[in-house]
Symmetry: C2
């Protein structure tokens, strides 16, 4: 089943080579070589990324794809490690995306501290599997401690609570996941199971499935309520869990892009009167993907408490703001959640990919416990009993080490820099005639759009519907072009998304989106990015004369 | 919300420190320091693991847990990177599990080639996010190529097929996941959706949920059929997907621990006649977790084809055997599957954690497509459109580089060594009076148990039921003790599980389980492990006189 030989090579796969490449470089020379490779990884890559401060090489995707079409696997080795590393630095890195660039302010991925690469390498070298004690031992114990630290950061229970649970083999304060998506799925999975418990002739939804569950509980439908700013992983969770993604109901937002509490309350009351529909959970957002906005968590918590509804907070983005002395109060109310998602590879600045989900009640993860004869035996410390994922790397070791190296204040400084720089950016956008600030930043995310000078006057004018539509279409096209041209030029990067500029707008407008988390992104960087956009706007004007005249 | 100061430290989190620890060590001295740390990670750890060839320190879990109970996060930094690394090498590593030891033959985790740590470090340093083109660019293109290489290894379609799909933005040959569990969940998710398509008044199970789907299709129940050797992630998938884990039906196995085809066929026929029950999928196992056994894939494929049932093969363990020239024929029939799971962190010898799932039909992943305004736009190359997970590291770069460094033959040699050494181990067990081989290895996994000399005669004797039960209980207790004592002593490690020794046995016996994938595990290693077990057996005899006399 292997492919025919394709590349003549003097490299041969034999047992001696294997011994050499495997884990025992016995002599000093091969050790030095391996260290040199690591140096190349750390600095060859680093130097490249620093001298090419932009985002990526300007090369069309189709051209790129042409070089990656051979689908055969070579029988004998094609390359030595040294050449593989050299190729990655010289061929791959320039065509990848320099997410470490201060000019890359478009997505929730950024520069990471240097030591994170070391920590990831340590986790790989130890290669522990956190699914079970027998392949992790002290790491499982450490992970329980890290989970308790994070739980305490979020829920701030009394110290005795943590003394009881930190190393308790029968309870779980949370779990590490691959990322925010599986964290959100896990939270809704638990919430689903909690509201479809066993009855006399029914063993619970986990065992008997959704159809039997709805029959047993005399229900037609489950729903989850979340604002229209909710991350798409929540819809995906609805699909996977058998709830149906149409039943993840998007509640409208107010002018601050927070869930409209009046509308949410009306919906809750409507569903509460409908005996055939059960609300599985209400999801509050602490740092919306598109706007960075934070829902009114205390009011949502009160509503959930009143109606006994599971309250999940998706703080994948905003969670680490709890470490900022200046801004942690923005997340007030999160401690009233039943479950909370936080990502490690976002504002904990860890490398891809790690997330977490926490539960206020340390027994509630029993809802998703699974056992097997060879692993995860009942009563054991095996952490894989109550996780969506199976085998897992020691992300907890990385997070714990990072917290020790940075301190909560170190993280706080990074958070503060992001938020303050984004507020500065908002001011710069307001100060320029060619741009319109769409969402004022609460955290370190904002949206804006380009509005050419002579169209500005029409923005708030009363226009006949057809002219308004023409204007909307023009602005969308300009901003789509602008973002694409800037991205393809590869010097800097903002992303784009679609938002209603004002609640109740019929039109969903194309807007530019900026996420600022790189400590090297400064006011000067932002001016350069706006300058570049203004320059691009000139070219759009020139090449499309009359294009945007309504 | 941060904890009070707890450790007096001269380390302070300020902006200058942040700049130093972040990604720009400008001077030569700090570069040298960072390289030295990597050297410690590569060799400090390595030397420790080599001099402590055993598995772990003999320290009780409760004692260990006592040191990991502080749940406060320090405000200022507690440690420098150098001290964190030193502590991990000196304090954590000895109390973790040395999965790289040739004496660690109990689980599917093992030594990994040295270069894997380099590759993991590269992926971390690049920190690309494969969810979308805008945070990965060439890596997304490379990932599509790797997916096609693996698809070709499994399904071996004509070259034109791969020319069409390798870089096709509208089709998907497979996807990378966090591991075998989410790969299996993804496969059954797709299969579930395929058998509950939209009807006139129903938008499909993904949109409308399971209850509506079963009503629309006039069904009461979905089932998945898999042998009782199936991995527990399949039951978990049943729970998550709303099928109900009781509906993941365990079919009995024959004396080779392969699914009993007569029983499977009868079940399929039974369910096919029951109009209210729909079979979502039949799962074949290619390398069972407990026994390494491989189901009769060609016969299962024929049965699925006849009844138009989705055929999933869980080759999380066995998949890479396809790269062995000697043993790839053991997996004959896998190319007839509709979907196939393969783990990267198992027999592709990659660090935790990465898995994959492949689909024969390049359009079938449309069943689980999700879009969002800010990412994964329709018609884009964004790989996150059709994945369970969201943000993901560049595991594909690691696998691709490893294939280039090793060649398929390099992997083949490792596979061959594992299988041949395990067959040798089986012979050694047969040759020793104190052991009984329970499952003869097909791949590199076997099970056995200790049977003290004077009990041996009763194994096949006709015993009254109560005496047989007493004997069973004695043997279970001896083997449980044996495995635990050996594990806690920390010199070597085999795992244990529970199996019926013969099909139809009423008793499920405790057996020892060995997985041999470390190229440094030799016949001599195995003799030492058996010697140690015989020595432990002596102590059990002495401390429990008369204990096992039936």
């Amino acid at each position: 089943m292997t492919a025919p030989e394709k590349i003549p090579s003097d490299l041969v796969a034999d047992w001696n080579t294997l011994h050499r490449v495997f884990i025992r470089p016995e002599d000093e020379k091969s050790r030095q070589t391996l260290v040199k490779y690591m140096e190349q990884i750390l600095f060859g890559l680093h130097d490249f990324l620093n001298t090419h401060v932009g985002v990526t090489e300007a090369i069309p995707l189709a051209t790129l794809a042409e070089s990656y079409t051979d689908t055969r696997i070579n029988k004998d080795p094609e390359k030595k490690l040294a050449d593989v590393i050299k190729d990655i630095i010289n061929e791959i890195a320039p065509k990848a995306v320099n997410v470490a660039s201060p000019y890359f302010i478009g997505h929730m991925t950024s520069a990471i501290p240097f030591f994170m690469v070391h920590l990831k390498a340590i986790a790989a070298a130890l290669n522990q599997n956190l699914i079970k004690l027998e392949t992790s031992k002290v790491l499982s114990v450490l992970e329980k401690q890290v989970l308790a630290k994070m739980h305490r950061m979020i829920f701030d229970k009394p110290p005795t609570f943590y003394d009881t649970h930190v190393q308790n083999v029968d309870t779980s304060l949370g779990l590490f996941t691959n990322g925010g998506t599986t964290a959100n799925i896990t939270a809704l999975w638990v919430a689903r199971n909690l509201c479809l418990p066993p009855t006399e002739h029914f063993l619970g939804v986990e065992k008997d499935g959704m159809a039997a569950a709805l029959k047993a509980h005399d229900l037609d439908r489950l729903v989850v309520l979340v604002s229209e700013r909710g991350h798409f992983s929540l819809k995906k969770a609805g699909g996977i869990l058998g709830i149906g993604n149409r039943n993840i109901i998007a509640v409208e937002v107010d002018e601050n892009h927070q869930v409209d509490m009046a509308k949410l309350t009306r919906l809750v009351e409507k569903f509460s009167q409908d005996k055939k529909t059960q609300i599985v959970a209400i999801v509050g957002i602490a740092g919306a993907t598109e706007t960075g906005s934070i829902d009114p968590l205390p009011r949502m918590a009160a509503l959930c408490k009143k109606h006994r509804i599971h309250f999940h907070v998706d703080a994948a983005w905003g969670g680490p703001v709890l470490l900022s002395e200046k801004f942690s109060s923005l997340l007030t109310g999160i401690q009233a959640a039943d479950s909370v998602t936080i990502d490690c590879h976002k504002q904990f600045y860890m490398p891809m990919s790690a997330g977490m989900v926490y539960f206020k009640d340390p027994k509630v993860l029993d809802q998703i416990a699974y056992h097997a004869g060879y692993v995860n035996r009942k009563g054991s410390v095996d952490l894989g009993i109550k996780t969506l994922e199976g085998s897992r790397e020691a992300s907890s070791l990385i997070l714990d080490s990072a917290l020790k190296i940075m301190g909560s204040r170190g993280y706080g400084l990074m958070i503060d820099h992001g938020i303050e720089t984004t507020r500065l950016f908002a001011q710069k956008i307001r100060d320029r005639a060619l741009f319109q600030l769409v969402t004022d930043p609460v955290l370190n995310i904002l949206t804006y759009r380009a509005v050419p000078a002579h169209l500005r006057q029409y923005l708030d004018a009363h226009l006949p519907q057809s002219r308004r539509q023409h204007l909307d279409a023009c602005l969308d096209e300009i901003n789509t072009h602008l973002q694409r041209i800037q991205r393809e030029a590869g010097k800097s990067f903002v992303s784009r998304t679609c938002l209603k500029i004002r609640p109740g707008d019929s039109h969903t407008a194309v807007v530019l989106r900026s996420v600022i988390m790189n400590p090297y992104t400064t006011g000067e960087t932002l001016d350069q990015i706006l300058d570049e956009q203004e320059a691009i706007l000139q070219t759009i004007e020139i090449s499309d004369q009359g294009f945007y005249t309504p």
